[in-house]
Symmetry: C2
Subunit: 484 residues, 2 copies
């Protein structure tokens, strides 16, 4: 049976048993069963040697007692009990296991011995498994969650393979704040059976996955990774954060996931050749994915900046230049068009600064129409979301005026936003926004529309510029953008 | 009269007039008068040539009509009307003006001419002024706000001098999210009269200011800045973000604040010699200030890391090493102590990873007691705030158990936090926390206590490590920490 068939079970199980399900708050076996009982529509069987019930559901003393078939078993037992649990799975005819338990090769020699034993039992019994020492997985399309606790997560096109459970959770937790949506999450753990590369191959073919993110400490099949990645990046982007970049970090990685990190420079070169987008932080995974799912790939490096105030223009220029992007030279026609919408105080060049007036969208059209501009970055107090007015205290006697003003302004902004998205598609130019005061963004209908189109502003021009530079990098790799 | 006396007026005015106060939503003259009428307890006089009333307060047709004395005038008129407004101030005996209006030397030759005229009128009339082309100022201690709109701001020890209004606003907006408190904000604008250096000298002596932050595009009195800074940094930290670092950024800065940026490398060297902490982003100003107001200065670069999960340990190690900090070698006694609080699965070294158990505070005590450790960094799902349990779905039948569990856990954590703050003081070691899932931090009493002590976790180990490295840098400058 092909591995992909096993992995279909992993994401599509109709029945699942949790060996080590628990009523004790704070235990991993509690969090997992609790999530499973609340999500999905599949059969869920708690297995606990004491029997009784778990969270109101009948608990079975052993897997053998479970009445129906079991597609997937989640194993949360102590290390020493894991070989027996895997044997139970073989006897029961389980096809796929998720071994959460820790204390294996990452912890000690004895742990490594038990891990080898578990692999042997699984191989002989025809079972494939994730882990051990992992924090499970999820699939938002089948509503199947085997992680022990979770932040809220939105359904969407981004999938994550991670060698660190917490780092993966951080990706979708931070993704939530940025409005990003996820399809699948896999914490590969010690990769005793299935490797990072296997999941990558699967997601490369998965139609619910549009962007693949990876947190990696080291590859068990480096050559295969590069071959796979080189193939997949032609169809969908692969973004990797490889940790263990310093000598000490690599040492810490080795004792964590037992993965050899190798030279950082070598990884860099290899990634670049295969079109993998390499990033340096958890947050960069999120920021890059957000740009990839919402923006057209630009045809060059020339950026037009619209900044609310000159200071933000200076900061944005620095940020873009440091990343090797270029400040577009606006054509005389563009200057003319901008003259017609702003007062004389505007900066008359790139960055475009309206000089105190709260003008945003009308500055975007001329830049998108300018052949000298490949991408637009909008940096302002509240991004493209509201206006200065949202931050002003409104006296009671003007409340009605204010409500009318805001309603009109919202209606106009929604129409402008629609127009912007049309123009982005037509001209194939990204429009990346940054906000300096994210905390106070008004949750208006404009905000909702930005969010549902993955267009929420980045917190700060540096993050926006970095995301844009990744788009350019990928676009150049694919031959859509001219190279440097 | 010494400039400081004028600046006392700026922060302590008993009466203020707004020339150009307006009822029109969205106008700067609207936002400013609206804030002034709601804050403080001082006399506020709207001046509008049409008379009538502004936001329910009687409006005067000219400054001359205002019945009582006026300490400070805020000028929001059009460029061409500004000389006349300044003349009115002279006639009225106003001591200090805040010129918000833009369109002066930053915009055109004609604007520069008018700016010189305004300076001349003010000089001859004995008036000092901020701006023009600025976004006002505030003082949370006197509750005096002349900015045209604002995010919420907390009273505290940090003051900001900024050559960009929006960048300064971003500092206290982002500071709000991080729990930071502010004393004074000054947007110096074009600095036609008072210079950045003047405000710096004032804040150096201001007892409500414990940390001085600056956003700078260029210095008008570079030599004086260095002399002042060298003197002040012996008493209180000065943190500067200098924008215009790239050639194109410097060009944008010149057209924004008409400031010459000079060489970036030269600034760097000069800053270092005078003990100025130089940062590279708006967010770094906030992060550095937060560490400076809450943490003891460390006596060296050796960091002990506690990480929830191995992956975060790897990321943290990379982040610290890249900044030149060192991974502390834990003493055998510390390893013993840690053995006694954690299961065998713990990492048995630095970074300290409990291996799946939600243990945080008990790992901190041994590190603070270890002579090989100069500082502690705690990186986890929810920082030092809650535990995994906060993210677990709780079934109804366990709600009571859960409430008891959380209540007990909160009580313990509050006691632990108290103990940690005591130990930080006693051992003079910082404890910097980072959270990977800031959005979901539970707003508990623990959170409130962390917040009121400026101890909220940084979003991500990179930001925590950077803040820590600034503490080390400043500590080395003061001779408290051993150098590299």
């Amino acid at each position: 049976m092909h591995l992909n068939h096993y992995l279909d079970h992993m994401f599509n199980a109709e029945s699942v048993a949790v060996i080590g399900a628990s009523n004790v708050l704070g235990k991993w076996g509690f969090g997992i069963i609790s999530l499973l009982l609340r999500n999905g529509g599949r059969k869920v069987y708690p297995v606990n040697r004491k029997g009784g019930d778990v969270l109101g559901a009948k608990a079975y003393r052993s897997l053998g007692e479970v009445p129906g078939p079991v597609d997937v078993a989640v194993i949360v037992t102590a290390v020493k009990d894991t070989p027996a649990a895997m044997e139970d799975c073989v006897r029961k005819g389980v096809k796929f296991a998720i071994v959460i338990s820790g204390g294996f090769s990452e912890a000690s020699e004895e742990g490594a011995r038990v891990e080898r034993e578990v692999v042997k039992i699984a191989r002989q019994g025809g079972i494939r498994f994730v882990g051990p020492n992992c924090m499970g997985h999820f699939d938002t399309y089948t509503d199947f969650f085997t992680i022990p606790f979770k932040n809220p997560v939105r359904k969407g096109p981004v999938s994550i393979i991670t060698q660190s459970g917490n780092s993966g959770i951080a990706v979708f937790a931070q993704g939530w704040d940025m409005g990003l949506g996820f399809s699948k999450y896999i914490n590969s753990g010690n990769e005793a059976d299935i490797h990072f590369e296997d999941y990558l191959e699967y997601l490369g073919q998965d139609e619910n996955t549009g962007v693949i993110l990876g947190y990696v400490e080291g590859f068990r099949e480096g050559k295969r990774f590069l071959e796979l990645a080189g193939d997949i990046t032609k169809r969908k982007p692969v973004v990797i954060f490889k940790a263990g970049r310093t000598e000490e970090g690599a040492r810490a990685a080795q004792s964590h996931s037992a993965a050899l990190s190798g030279s950082d420079a070598v990884s860099n070169a290899a990634f670049r050749q295969t079109g993998v987008i390499r990033v340096q932080k958890i947050g960069d995974l999120v920021d890059t994915a957000l740009a990839l799912v919402s923006q057209p790939l630009p045809r060059g490096r020339r950026v037009g900046v619209i900044s609310m105030g000159g200071g933000l223009g200076v900061i944005s220029t620095d940020a873009l230049r440091k990343l090797g992007l270029e400040m577009a030279r606006l054509s005389p026609e563009t200057i003319e068009k901008l003259n017609s919408v702003m007062s004389e105080r505007w900066s008359h060049g790139n960055p475009v600064d309206p000089g105190g007036d709260p003008i945003i969208y009308p500055c975007i059209w001329p830049l998108l129409e300018d052949e000298n501009v490949d991408a637009v970055m909008v940096v302002g107090g509240v991004g493209m979301v509201g206006g200065l007015t949202a931050l002003m205290p409104i006296p009671d006697l003007l409340k009605d005026d204010y409500a009318r003003f805001m309603e009109k302004s919202e209606r106009e902004m929604l129409a402008d936003l629609e127009r912007m998205m049309d123009m982005m598609k037509r001209h194939r130019k990204p429009v990346i926004a940054a906000s300096m005061v994210s905390g106070s963004v008004v949750k208006s209908r404009v905000y909702e529309k930005l969010e549902s189109n993955y267009l929420l502003p980045y917190p700060g021009p540096e993050r926006a510029a970095k995301a844009l530079s990744r788009l350019v990098e990928y676009s150049e790799y694919l031959g859509i953008a001219r190279g440097k």
